[in-house]
């Protein structure tokens, strides 16, 4: 029977415990991807074999399902003899895929700054470091905040796939509860609401950041 208050009262603490794992995974993934994606984007912008590897990496990870990447990491490592925990495998797979997306966001942001901006800075006597810190990077940051916010939201939802490799995130907790009770509807509605709260936090944070950086209105 849906909307069983006694059931919900027991459910919520369990879901929140799972949500802690979800949040942990999401934050770690996003933080690591901000760095890793930048490295990939910079590698991609060089000339030569490095950019070839970076380009291939981005294509491969974007064009295969996250779930498959997760299985490959999880079972791959355990076959190789040094099994990673489900959490570590999940985190690694999330970073591998989202690193590709984040790299593309950086690339788009860098390309959106016209060469005229570089020339204006150089004509004023700026050297590389000054040019980038004063002129280029602030513009790139302002441009990439909205797509990065989307990515953070997408990562938050993507973490639910670690349930497939037995990590006790919110999704896995929900599945366990569904199996042991007939109250499927309450469980998944509760899960949906908590995801919505989490992604809303990311969304609002992104908007605030965006507003702080807005200069072009």
């Amino acid at each position: 029977m849906p909307f069983d208050l006694h059931f919900i009262a027991r459910l919520i603490p369990a879901l929140i415990e799972g949500a802690e794992v979800t949040v942990e995974l999401a934050i770690l993934t996003f933080a690591i991807c901000l760095v890793w994606g930048l490295i990939v984007a910079l590698a991609n912008s060089t000339r030569g074999p490095l950019s070839w590897f970076a380009g291939a990496y981005v294509q491969i990870v974007r064009n295969t399902p996250l779930l498959i990447q997760m299985y490959i990491v999880y079972f791959g490592f355990s076959m190789a003899g040094f099994g990673l925990s489900g959490f570590a495998s999940g985190l690694l797979a999330l970073c591998i895929q989202n690193g590709g997306y984040v790299a593309e966001i950086y690339r788009g942001g860098l390309q959106a700054v016209s060469t005229r901006q570089y020339e204006a800075g150089r004509a004023l006597g700026m050297r590389r470091w000054t040019l980038y810190t004063v002129v280029i990077i602030p513009q790139v940051v302002a441009r990439i905040v909205p797509p990065m916010t989307n990515q953070a939201i997408s990562i938050t939802k993507d973490t639910s796939q670690v349930a497939a490799i037995a990590v006790m995130d919110m999704m896995k907790v929900a599945q366990v509860w569904v199996e042991s009770s007939a109250n499927t509807y309450d469980v998944f509605l509760g899960v949906a609401i908590i995801y919505l709260v989490l992604t809303s936090v990311a969304s609002v944070a992104g908007k605030l950041f965006e507003r702080r950086l807005a200069f072009a209105q």
């Binding site: 150089r122 004509a123 004023l124 006597g125 200069f215 072009a216």
Partner: protein
């Protein structure tokens, strides 16, 4: 003040500058005219090394900018990035497309390079920036971001920004071509004022009457070469070469009402 010696530049197989020499005296205003594609923009860009070039050298006040002659090897060597950046401080450049920094307001645009390149204390740089913005008639727009400024206002901020580095010479590349006709005047007036104040200037323009007013000397370029140069009235009204005559005729035909 400015010595351009035998500069040659090609884009692939296209020879855009074919041995251009030009010297500009301190306080002199030289206007460069010529047909589209003759290499005027490329010449200005070579002067402060926004383009590399294959042959020739440029010096400002005796100091090389871009390439230095190595006497022993008898060869040109490219200066280091640090030296080139330092040399560029002496050359102010104003672009056709303004190129203000969109994330900074007018004041910040003007202050950025003095503070971050020259290390001038903020308070002093700000006072100077306000002074320059007042000089170009924008004292009420200091806090405005570029998108909120008209083209003419943006271009005047760009002029103030270049002046803030205290350059020895200013380069202007068709700085009014992207402007609505009614905004051209305010930018030209700012340049006039600068010329009267004794700034050394190289000005590329298609505005012939302005060229005549402001120039000490007009240089006519065609096909990557300086074809003719002289006093404004002489070059504009009794040119020595057919190419200048043909250019002026085309120009007059186009703008006669």
């Amino acid at each position: 003040m400015l010595e351009v010696a035998d500069v040659s530049k090609r884009f692939g197989t296209l020879e855009v500058l074919r041995g251009v020499s030009l010297s500009v005296a301190p306080g002199e205003v030289v206007v460069v005219i010529g047909p589209s594609g003759s290499g005027k923009t490329t010449l200005l860009r070579c002067i402060n090394l926004l383009e590399d070039y294959e042959r020739g050298t440029v010096t400002v006040d005796g100091d090389p900018i871009g390439y230095r002659l190595d006497r022993r090897a008898g060869q040109r060597v490219r200066m280091s990035e640090r030296e080139i950046a330092a040399a560029r401080e002496n050359v102010g450049m104003v672009f056709q497309s303004f190129n203000l920094f969109p994330h900074m307001n007018a004041l910040q645009n003007v202050m950025a390079a003095p503070v971050r390149v020259k290390g001038i204390p903020r308070a002093r740089a700000e006072a100077r920036a306000r002074e320059l913005l007042t000089m170009v008639g924008l004292s009420d727009k200091v806090a405005e971001y570029p998108v909120r400024l008209s083209g003419g206002q943006q271009q005047r901020v760009a002029i103030a920004r270049a002046l803030a580095m205290d350059p020895k010479i200013m380069l202007f590349d068709e700085v009014t071509s992207a402007l609505d006709p009614e905004l051209v005047g305010e930018v030209l007036a700012a340049m006039q004022q600068l010329a009267r104040a004794g700034m050394t200037m190289v000005v590329v323009t298609h505005e012939m009457s302005f060229a005549r007013d402001i120039a000490d000397r007009i240089v006519f370029m065609d096909d990557g070469l300086v074809v003719e140069q002289g006093k404004p009235d002489q070059l504009l009204f009794s040119p020595a070469t057919d190419r200048v005559r043909a250019f002026l005729k085309r120009y007059n035909d186009r703008y006669r009402i």
